[in-house]
C-alpha cells in the first residue's frame, strides 16, 4: 500500500511559492484569491514501515526550521478548494527519482526494482472560489496555469469533499501499464500511391510520396529480396526498418529542402537552377573564407562546428531549435532544447565541456487578447514556460547564459521559436591525438550511457518535420533531467581524458537510430541487440526502443580492451552504461531482438538513398510604400513609445533569472552601466583562467524585415551580430558564424498555396547569407534549419515570418581591452561610426556601396 507524505510551510510563515502562484493567477487569469498554499506530496510505493516513513518524513522531506509535514494525512487547512497536480504515467519525474535516492541514503536501504517515489503538488486555494459553481473556475486554473494536460493530470476537491479523504491518495499511481505489441511486423508496400501516402501519414513517418516510392523500389530489388530471404527477413520492410528510414530521411535529419534542386525565377523573370542551397550558399561561404583564415578545425560534419581558441584549446559552437515541442509543452520542450544542444557540444569532437549557453525566443505578444486557436497556448504562458525551461536547464547544468534575445511578432502565435545555443571547450589534443578526430572502428562496442529509454520523444524527428496539427503526438514531448545529464557529462569527460572511447555521439532526434546510424558510417556498419537496452518500464516495441528520443543519453564506440575500465568508471560515477552491440564493416545497419534479426539496411541506401527534391521558387517582390514620418516638433513621446515597445524594452526580469556567471569566466555581462541594469552588445567570457584571451558571443535576428525582403532580413541579422561583436572589441577575421533558419513550409501544395513564394524567399535569404558572410570574412561553422513552422487546424493557418538567427562568435585577443556599452564620463564625446546610418544627414560622406 503506497504511503504519502505531505510537506508545507509552517503556519504563520509566508509561503513564497504559493504567493507566486497567487500573483500569476491574478495576472494571467484575472482570478484574485486571498491565499494560495503549496504542499509537496511524495507518494512512496516502497513498502516502508511506519517507523521508516516517520524517519524519511523527519530527516529527508521536512526542513525542521520552516516546514511541517504529515504521513498518510492531509496537511492543508483553511481552504476552499484543493487542486493536486501530478505527472501522467511515464513522464520524467525528476523529484521522484531524487527522492528515491534520498530514501535509500536515509534508511541505508537501496530501493528495490518496482519501488518508486512519485511527486505531486497540492495547491490549497482560499477566497473567491467557494461553492460547487466555482468548480469550473478551478478546472480552468488547473488547465491554464498549473498543469499541462499532455504531461500532467490533476484533481479538484472542495474542502467538504476532502473531509472524508484524510490521507487518501487523490491521484492514482502514475505507472505505465500500456504495453506495445512486442512483435515485429512486416509492412506491405506493394500498394497504390494513395495508400502509400496514407501509410506515411498514419504511421507519422512524414515522408513524401516519392520517398515512399523509393523505399518501395528498394524492397522490390531482386538482390535485396534475395539477401533478405537468406537472412530470414520478410520481403517487405519490417516496422523498425521503415521507422529507421523515416527518421534518417526526415527533413529534420537530412535537410532535404536545403539540399533540393530548385528552379528559381527571380523578380525580373530570369530563371536559374540552384542545386542545393546548402552547397551553393552555406558550404560555399565557408570554403571561400577558409582560404583566408587558419583557425577552422572541424565544420559541418560533427555535432557542432569547432574552431581554434588558442594553441592549447579549441572552441565548439552549435545552436538548435526546439519549436514544435515547445508549442505543445513550453517547459518540457524548452528544457529539452537547452540540454539537447548541450549534448551536441558534448558530442563534438571527442567531447567538449560546455561553457556557455545562448537563448533566443520568438513569441506573439504576451498581451495578446484575441482568440487562441485549438491546441495552442496563450503567448504569455508559452513565454513563462519556455523561459522557465531554459532557465532550469541552464542553471542546473552549471552552464552560464551569456547572450540572447526575446523577439515578438504576432505570427509566432502559430509556433513559438526557441533557439538554444551552446559553446564548449576542448583541449586541442586528447590522449595524444587531435581532439576533433573521431571514428568507430569495426569491432568497437556500441555503448549507451546516461538515462533509460521510454516512450517519451518517439517520433520527435519526424514530428518536427511537419506542421502542428490535430494529431501531433503527445509522445513527442519529453522533459529534460539536467542532473542525470550533468553526471553523465562529468563522467564522459573523465573517460575522454583516459582515452577510453573512439567516438562519441548525441542521442538526440532519432535516438539510437540516429546516433548508431551516424557513427556506423565510419566503421561501415553496426549490429545492435535491442533487448539489452535499459528501459524505464517494460512494454516497448523494438522499433520504439531504437527510435525513442528519451533524453540524457550519449552513444559511444569503445574498443573491447577498454570496455571493463569504461564500465567500471561508469559504475563509480553512478552513471548507467550498457553494451548494445558492435560496430562492423558489413555495410549494413542490423538490429536484433532476442537473437532474431529484425532489421538489415544497406548503409548506402539508408544514408544516400533519399531521392533529391525538385522544387520551384518564384519571387514576386511585395508592393510596399515607404513610410512617411509626421512633421512633429516633440519626439519625446515617440522615443518613449519605442523604448517601451516589446522588441526594444528591457527583458531584465527574465535574463536576471539565468545564471550568467557560473564557471567564473564572465567579462562583459548582460547587465551593464552604473546600476548594472542596462543592456550590453555582446557577452564576453574568459574561458581559460591562465589566459587573457576571450570569446565574444552575439546574435542578430530581424524577422520583422521578412515581409519586406528576406534578403535584407538576413543581411541585417548578420550585420547586427557582427556590429555587436565589433562593439565590444572583436575584429573581422576572427569571427565565426552559425545560421539557424526557421521557415514556414516552403513546398507548394494544397495546404501551402504560396509555397513557391516562400521558397523564393528562402533562396534570397540564403543569397544574402553567402554574400554578407563572404564580404565580412565569416565562415559558417555549423547551422540548422527547421522548415515546417506552421500551424494548421481546421481553417486556421498561421505561418511564422521567415526567421534566421545569426549567432556570431569572436575570438578576443585580450579581454582587458573589451568595451562595455554604457557611457562612462561626463564630457565624453558621442560619435556615430559608419557611413550608412547617417547617410540622410551627411550625404557627402557616404562611401559604402552596400545597403544599410
Amino acid at each position: 500500500m503506497p504511503a504519502k507524505i505531505e510537506v508545507g510551510m509552517k503556519r504563520g510563515l509566508p509561503d513564497p511559492a504559493g504567493q507566486s502562484v497567487r500573483g500569476r493567477l491574478a495576472e494571467d487569469l484575472g482570478i484574485r484569491l486571498d491565499d494560495v498554499r503549496v504542499i509537496d506530496v511524495y507518494t512512496i510505493d516502497a513498502g516502508l514501515t511506519p517507523e521508516q516513513l516517520e524517519r524519511v518524513r523527519a530527516e529527508l522531506f521536512t526542513d525542521p526550521i520552516i516546514q511541517e509535514s504529515v504521513v498518510n494525512k492531509s496537511l492543508a487547512r483553511d481552504y476552499d478548494f484543493i487542486i493536486e497536480v501530478g505527472f501522467l504515467p511515464g513522464v520524467t519525474d525528476n523529484v521522484g527519482k531524487s527522492s528515491a535516492e534520498g530514501i535509500a541514503d536515509t534508511l541505508d536501504r537501496p530501493m528495490k526494482p518496482g519501488e518508486a517515489v512519485y511527486k505531486s503538488t497540492q495547491y490549497a486555494l482560499r477566497g473567491a472560489l467557494k461553492g460547487a459553481a466555482d468548480r469550473p473556475a478551478c478546472e480552468r486554473i488547473a488547465r491554464d496555469a498549473l498543469a499541462n494536460e499532455l504531461i500532467q493530470r490533476w484533481i479538484v476537491k472542495s474542502a467538504s469533499e476532502m473531509a472524508g479523504l484524510d490521507g487518501a491518495l487523490l491521484l492514482g499511481l502514475p505507472i505505465v501499464t500500456e504495453r506495445s505489441d512486442p512483435e515485429v511486423h512486416a509492412i506491405n508496400l506493394d500498394i497504390p500511391d494513395a495508400q502509400l501516402a496514407a501509410l506515411s501519414r498514419d504511421r507519422m513517418l512524414a515522408l513524401e510520396l516519392h520517398e515512399m516510392k523509393a523505399i518501395q523500389a528498394y524492397y522490390k530489388d531482386p538482390d535485396v529480396r534475395a539477401r533478405r530471404s537468406s537472412a530470414g527477413l520478410p520481403e517487405q520492410p519490417t516496422d523498425i526498418e521503415l521507422e529507421i528510414l523515416a527518421q534518417t530521411w526526415s527533413e529534420h535529419c537530412k535537410h532535404k529542402i536545403f539540399n533540393a534542386e530548385i528552379k528559381y525565377t527571380d523578380e525580373t523573370g530570369k530563371k536559374r537552377t540552384v542545386n542545393s542551397l546548402f552547397k551553393t550558399y552555406v558550404k560555399a561561404t565557408t570554403d571561400k573564407v577558409a582560404k583566408q583564415v587558419d583557425w577552422l578545425v572541424s565544420v559541418f560534419h560533427d555535432n557542432a562546428g569547432i574552431i581554434k581558441f588558442d594553441d592549447h584549446w579549441n572552441f565548439a559552437l552549435k545552436a538548435e531549435t526546439h519549436n514544435s515541442p515547445s508549442a505543445l509543452d513550453p517547459y518540457g520542450g524548452a528544457i529539452t532544447g537547452i540540454v539537447g544542444v548541450n549534448r551536441d557540444v558534448l558530442g563534438a569532437g571527442m567531447g567538449c565541456r560546455c561553457i556557455l549557453n545562448t537563448d533566443v525566443f520568438c513569441f506573439a505578444s504576451p498581451f495578446y487578447s484575441g482568440k487562441i486557436p485549438p491546441r495552442l497556448f496563450h503567448p504569455r504562458r508559452v513565454l513563462r514556460g519556455v523561459h522557465q525551461g531554459v532557465k532550469d536547464g541552464g542553471n542546473q547544468s552549471g552552464i552560464p547564459d551569456v547572450n540572447g534575445a526575446i523577439v515578438f511578432h504576432e505570427r509566432f502565435l502559430g509556433k513559438p521559436l526557441v533557439f538554444c545555443g551552446t559553446g564548449g571547450l576542448i583541449p586541442a589534443k586528447v590522449a595524444g591525438k587531435p581532439s576533433e578526430e573521431k571514428g568507430a572502428c569495426p569491432g568497437d562496442l556500441i555503448v549507451m550511457t546516461g538515462g533509460r529509454i521510454g516512450k517519451d520523444g518517439i517520433h520527435g524527428a519526424t514530428f518536427s518535420s511537419e506542421e502542428l496539427h490535430e494529431g501531433s503526438p503527445a509522445t513527442a514531448v519529453q522533459i529534460g533531467d539536467p542532473i542525470t545529464q550533468k553526471k553523465m557529462a562529468d563522467f564522459l569527460l573523465e573517460a575522454r581524458d583516459l582515452g577510453l572511447f573512439t567516438c562519441i555521439w548525441d542521442d538526440g532526434a532519432g535516438g539510437l537510430s540516429s546516433s548508431v546510424g551516424e557513427m556506423a558510417r565510419v566503421s561501415g556498419g553496426a549490429e545492435v541487440h535491442l533487448e539489452k537496452a535499459p528501459l524505464k518500464y517494460a512494454g516497448l516495441a523494438p522499433w520504439e526502443i531504437f527510435l525513442s528520443e528519451a533524453q540524457e543519453r550519449m552513444t559511444l564506440s569503445i574498443p573491447p580492451d577498454k570496455i571493463d575500465e569504461f564500465l567500471n568508471l561508469a559504475r563509480r560515477r553512478a552513471v548507467e552504461a550498457t553494451v548494445l552491440g558492435t560496430f562492423t564493416d558489413s555495410g549494413r545497419l542490423e538490429c536484433f531482438y532476442d537473437g532474431r534479426k529484425i532489421a538489415s539496411l544497406d548503409m548506402e541506401f539508408l544514408h544516400d538513398g533519399v531521392p533529391k527534391m525538385h522544387l520551384k521558387a518564384v519571387y514576386t517582390p511585395p508592393a510596399l510604400e515607404e513610410a512617411s514620418l509626421p512633421d512633429k516638433k516633440d519626439l519625446t513621446p515617440d522615443l518613449k513609445a519605442v523604448l517601451g515597445s516589446l522588441n526594444v524594452c528591457s527583458k531584465e526580469t527574465f535574463v536576471r533569472m539565468y545564471d550568467h556567471e557560473v564557471l567564473g569566466q564572465s567579462v562583459l555581462k548582460q547587465f551593464q552601466g552604473a546600476q548594472n541594469d542596462g543592456p550590453g552588445d555582446a557577452g564576453v567570457i574568459r574561458p581559460v583562467p591562465e589566459s587573457r584571451r576571450g570569446i565574444a558571443i552575439a546574435c542578430g535576428i530581424c524577422p520583422k524585415y521578412s515581409d519586406i525582403d528576406t534578403y535584407h532580413m538576413m543581411a541585417c541579422a548578420i550585420d547586427e551580430a557582427v556590429r555587436n561583436i565589433i562593439a565590444v572589441g572583436g575584429r573581422l577575421g576572427a569571427i565565426a558564424g552559425l545560421d539557424n533558419f526557421c521557415w514556414p513550409d516552403p513546398i507548394q501544395s494544397e495546404k501551402t498555396p504560396d509555397g513557391e513564394h516562400k521558397l523564393a524567399q528562402l533562396v534570397r535569404c540564403a543569397e544574402a547569407l553567402h554574400e554578407y558572410c563572404v564580404a565580412y570574412g565569416i565562415p559558417l561553422i555549423s547551422g540548422k534549419d527547421s522548415m515546417k513552422n506552421d500551424y494548421k487546424i481546421g481553417d486556421t493557418k498561421i505561418s511564422i515570418p521567415p526567421t534566421v538567427l545569426f549567432t556570431a562568435a569572436g575570438i578576443i585577443d585580450d579581454v582587458e581591452k573589451t568595451v562595455s556599452m554604457d557611457v562612462k564620463r561626463p564630457g565624453d564625446i558621442v560619435y556615430a561610426a559608419g557611413a550608412g546610418s547617417l547617410s540622410r544627414f551627411t550625404p557627402n560622406t557616404r562611401r559604402s556601396s552596400r545597403p544599410p
Binding site: I65, S98, D105, R573, G664, Q672, T818
Partner: protein, 261 residues
C-alpha cells in the same frame, strides 16, 4: 608545506572548476574529487587541509536545495568529516555548498554535533536571481576565511538563499559566538535592513554567511570564486578595480591560515 585542498564534485555540483582554480591561484594544491571516491575511501580526507563544497544544483535541488547531498554526506561521511574539523582543518561551502552545510548541520556547529539549527529557503521573490551584492564582514567575527576583509562585492546566484534561524536564541548565539560572518549591505556599507535588492532574498538580519565557533568552517551564499579577476566585476569598465578580484583573498586567507598552523 603545500596546503592541499579537496574540491568536491559529482551529482550536480557545478562550480567545482572555478573553485578549484581559485584555490590553486590562492596557493593551494587543489584536487577535484568525486564524492563516490571519498565514500569509497574516506581516508582520502587525511591528505587534505581544506574541504570545499562548491556551488551547483546537487540532485537538482529536488526536495529542497542541498538536502539530498546533505543527507548523503551526513550518513556516509559524518564521522570522517567530524574528525576533519576536530583536527583543526578548514571547510567552506558556497551557495549550494552552504545549503548542504546548514541542512546537514555542519554549520553552525554550536557543540560539535551535526544538528540543523538554521535553514536557507526560497527567496522572498520566489525566483532564482543572479545579481551582484555588497557585503559587510561582521566586526568581531571569528571567520578565518574573512580575516582582514571589511567588505566585499560578489555575485549571488540562487533561488533558495533566505537565511532563517530556528529562533531568536539561535540568532543570538550566532552573534555572541562571533559566528555571523557576512551580511548584505547597501553600497555605502550601511545595513541592507531587508531591503531588496541590497538584501536579495529576504535573509533574516541580512545574513549572507556564517561560520562555526572556531571560525574555520564557513558557509556563504555569494560566490567568492566568481570574483577573482578584475574583469569579473560588473563595473570594471567604469571604475578603478584592482587587478585581482576581491573574492580571491577569501581563499588566500584559508591557505595562509593552514600554513601558519
Amino acid at each position: 608545506m603545500t596546503v592541499r585542498a579537496l574540491v568536491l564534485t559529482g551529482f550536480g555540483i557545478n562550480c567545482d572548476a572555478e573553485t578549484h582554480s581559485a584555490l590553486s591561484r590562492a596557493g593551494a594544491g587543489a584536487d577535484r574529487v568525486h564524492l563516490n571516491d571519498i565514500i569509497e575511501n574516506p581516508g582520502l580526507l587525511d591528505r587534505y587541509h581544506i574541504f570545499a563544497i562548491p556551488g551547483g544544483f546537487s540532485f537538482g535541488d529536488d526536495v529542497a536545495s542541498g538536502k539530498i547531498l546533505a543527507n548523503r554526506l551526513r550518513y556516509k561521511l559524518g564521522a570522517p568529516l567530524k574528525k576533519f574539523i576536530a583536527d583543526g582543518k578548514l571547510v567552506i561551502g558556497i551557495c549550494n555548498g552552504f545549503q548542504v552545510m546548514v541542512k546537514m548541520g555542519i554549520l553552525p556547529l554550536f557543540d560539535g554535533e551535526f544538528i540543523q539549527e538554521v535553514t536557507l529557503t526560497n527567496n522572498d521573490s520566489a525566483r532564482f536571481e543572479n545579481r551582484w551584492v555588497n557585503l559587510g564582514v561582521t566586526p568581531g567575527t571569528r571567520c578565518v576565511w574573512l580575516k582582514g576583509i571589511e567588505s566585499l562585492e560578489l555575485p549571488v546566484r540562487h533561488g533558495e538563499g533566505k537565511f532563517i534561524p530556528r529562533d531568536d536564541a539561535v540568532l543570538k548565539k550566532l552573534y555572541t559566538n562571533g559566528q555571523v560572518a557576512l551580511r548584505y549591505c547597501q553600497p555605502d556599507g550601511s545595513p541592507a535592513n531587508g531591503q531588496f535588492p541590497a538584501n536579495p532574498n529576504g535573509a533574516v538580519d541580512d545574513i549572507a554567511g556564517i561560520c562555526d565557533p572556531s571560525g574555520r568552517v564557513f558557509g556563504l551564499m555569494p560566490h567568492p570564486e566568481a570574483n577573482t579577476f578584475r574583469t569579473n566585476h560588473p563595473q570594471w569598465t567604469r571604475k578603478q578595480i584592482p587587478q585581482e578580484g576581491a573574492g580571491l583573498q577569501v581563499f588566500r586567507n584559508a591557505v595562509q591560515y593552514c600554513k601558519a598552523t
